[in-house]
Symmetry: C2
Subunit: 368 residues, 2 copies
């Protein structure tokens, strides 16, 4: 008998995972990227008030953070016009998705997502023994009708939908989604990932009743709030479901400095407006660069743009690899047919200058 | 059929958990504590270099942290004279214990710990459906021989031992533990929590072979390194077991600012020596205050002292409640017979002045 004796589930899980960070690639390259445009981070950064709050809070880092996230939950409740009992704060949406899957999904349980949607959700589902059922995108958008029909077909406990979508950047109106939820089967929870919704057009965020038991919404400070490295996400849902997180979450898991930063970031709506403008400008520029080199930008409600390379996945992968060789960190969708695209996050003018200089070379080399 | 449909395990878990932070108590009291001596935090704080590193890193917080924790793992490897493959970095020991339990423990699996030892470990075991078997302390120390005998008796997959111990502060020599491990049954992994070992006497840290498959050691930046609010812990173990964490951990879960802080903290051994001195001084003073009011300090190798109130749990609880009413945040062991004690963390001179002023009042009121 050898130790450790892993669970059968743990033994069955793949030893390698698709989470390769840009730092790993930089170490393999032996040099840093000239432009970091692959992880949908927000180079425009957090509110200066958030940075100041975090710098101040570093001297308090000897204390654990408040396990109730009281101040942040109260501020978020006011922001969303709900009660603090409608909000759970956690270690990024990734952490919260892990807790959610753990609460609902055991070995053999059915879960539905789109083919090519957020891989970390799939990682959690597989990690708890769930069985993933995938439906295709429709015209580069996630397809709520088909997702919910599949959920009914396989008796899913959980269905994942990102709005706006990652990696394509496309979106539905919140009203359309709410209407589509009429077809959500009984006993199935919709986890609606709204990570990018703060830079989407008005009306993209769903306006469900806060006590609607069919739905949990995920939000984050990682994207438009510019704090990916802080690991602060939150879930919005009916109080009964929200309180269930207390059964499994890492109660003292929140970084105290991050709590202070998120609180300050939330209060600075002017900075958020500034970032939205920067994102819109960068999005337009990425689209323009793409068009001027024969690529087709997919309309985006996020802080990135999927660029249709008008060929197959192998070609897009060649373009991507060439860009990376040229010092431009970008990523691409995993699945057919979205993998005909590369995905470029919004950057500074200098970042996009570097991208503009590299793209024709990357395309030429891929076409040869 | 209602939503969400929780797993049977999730349904069975208690809705309330014992993780009440001092902030919660302060909100109930309506005022802040005069001295925060309950959570074994390190009021002497992190290295000024760590604070500076964190403050600098806040401007990079728009980026995710390196999912491989490459720099920190390499620095820790050098520090411990092992390879980076012997080290997994995670969101505090609490986070790592959760991953470890998840890897090993499924419904019905046996796990052994001491009655009154670290409750967060128990929380994780219960949370994954494991069955806890507890053995008593022996003379206020955890009892390796009995732990390992119980592990053999119940065919445990995992046994927990903290050295030094929390909440009693007592300890074993590393050599004694290593010898005791001869009785660790086949197929049982020892998780050795060394959270406090940096302030324990020379020889307390176990000197096992780094590839020993029977053992994983847990370390943290939360205690002597003074960064509880940063959530940085690490596990030391055989590479095969360490790599298994990659199957389940939250790969982008580490706070980037905390990574930078931990790296700087590790490099400042002078500050660590300074903190050790401060802790030793505070420990002596807590013991002296206790003795001068008729209490017996339990010898401690940690940054706290258990004070034997020489009565039962109800009396110690009354002392504790009185101290809290007087603005002194302290905690106490949960289990008989350790719950005849209150547990006082090291504090500044001012903190301990406040404790000294409050203690006789708290004792008088409890005795009345």
């Amino acid at each position: 008998m050898t130790v450790p004796r892993y669970t059968p589930l743990a033994q069955s899980l793949p030893a390698t995972v698709p989470f390769v960070g840009p730092e790993t690639q930089e170490r393999h390259r032996g040099s840093t990227f000239a432009a970091r445009l692959g992880a949908n981070e927000n180079v425009f950064g957090p509110s200066p008030r958030a940075i100041e709050a975090m710098q101040t809070a570093t001297t308090d880092v000897w204390m654990y953070g408040d396990p109730e996230n009281h101040e942040l939950r109260h501020a978020l409740a006011a922001h969303h016009d709900v009660t603090p009992d409608h909000i759970v704060v956690g270690e990024g949406i990734d952490g919260l998705l892990g807790y959610l899957v753990r609460l609902l999904v055991g070995p053999g349980d059915a879960v539905v997502t789109s083919d090519g949607a957020y891989p970390t959700f799939n990682y959690h589902v597989t990690g708890f023994g769930g069985v993933l059922h995938k439906v295709p995108y429709l015209d580069d958008r996630e397809d709520p009708a088909r997702l919910f029909a599949k959920a009914a077909e396989v008796d899913a406990k959980l269905v994942y939908l990102a709005n706006p979508d990652n990696p394509m950047g496309t979106w539905h109106s919140g009203a359309d989604l709410l209407a589509a939820m009429d077809a959500l089967p009984e006993g199935c929870l919709l986890v609606l990932d709204e990570a990018y919704v703060e830079c989407a057009p008005e009306g993209t965020a769903i306006e469900a009743h806060p006590d609607d038991p069919r739905l949990i919404r995920m939000r984050t400070f990682s994207k438009v709030y510019g704090m990916a490295g802080a690991r602060v996400g939150y879930g919005l849902g009916a109080p009964g479901m929200i309180s269930a997180f207390n059964k499994v979450r890492n109660h003292f898991g929140m970084n105290r400095v991050a709590q202070a930063g998120a609180l300050a970031a939330l209060a600075d709506s002017e900075w958020l407006d500034h970032v939205r403008d920067e994102i819109a400008t960068a999005r337009d520029r990425i689209a323009e660069i793409a068009r001027s080199h024969g690529l087709t930008p997919v309309p985006s409600a996020t802080n990135f743009v999927a660029l249709d390379c008008d060929s197959d996945g192998a070609f897009a992968k060649a373009v991507l690899d060439n860009l990376i060789s040229l010092g431009i960190f970008v990523r691409m969708p995993f699945s057919v047919p979205q993998n005909r695209c590369i995905r470029v996050s919004c950057g500074t003018a200098a970042d996009l200058d570097a991208f503009e200089a590299a793209l024709p070379k990357a395309l030429d080399a891929a076409r040869r």
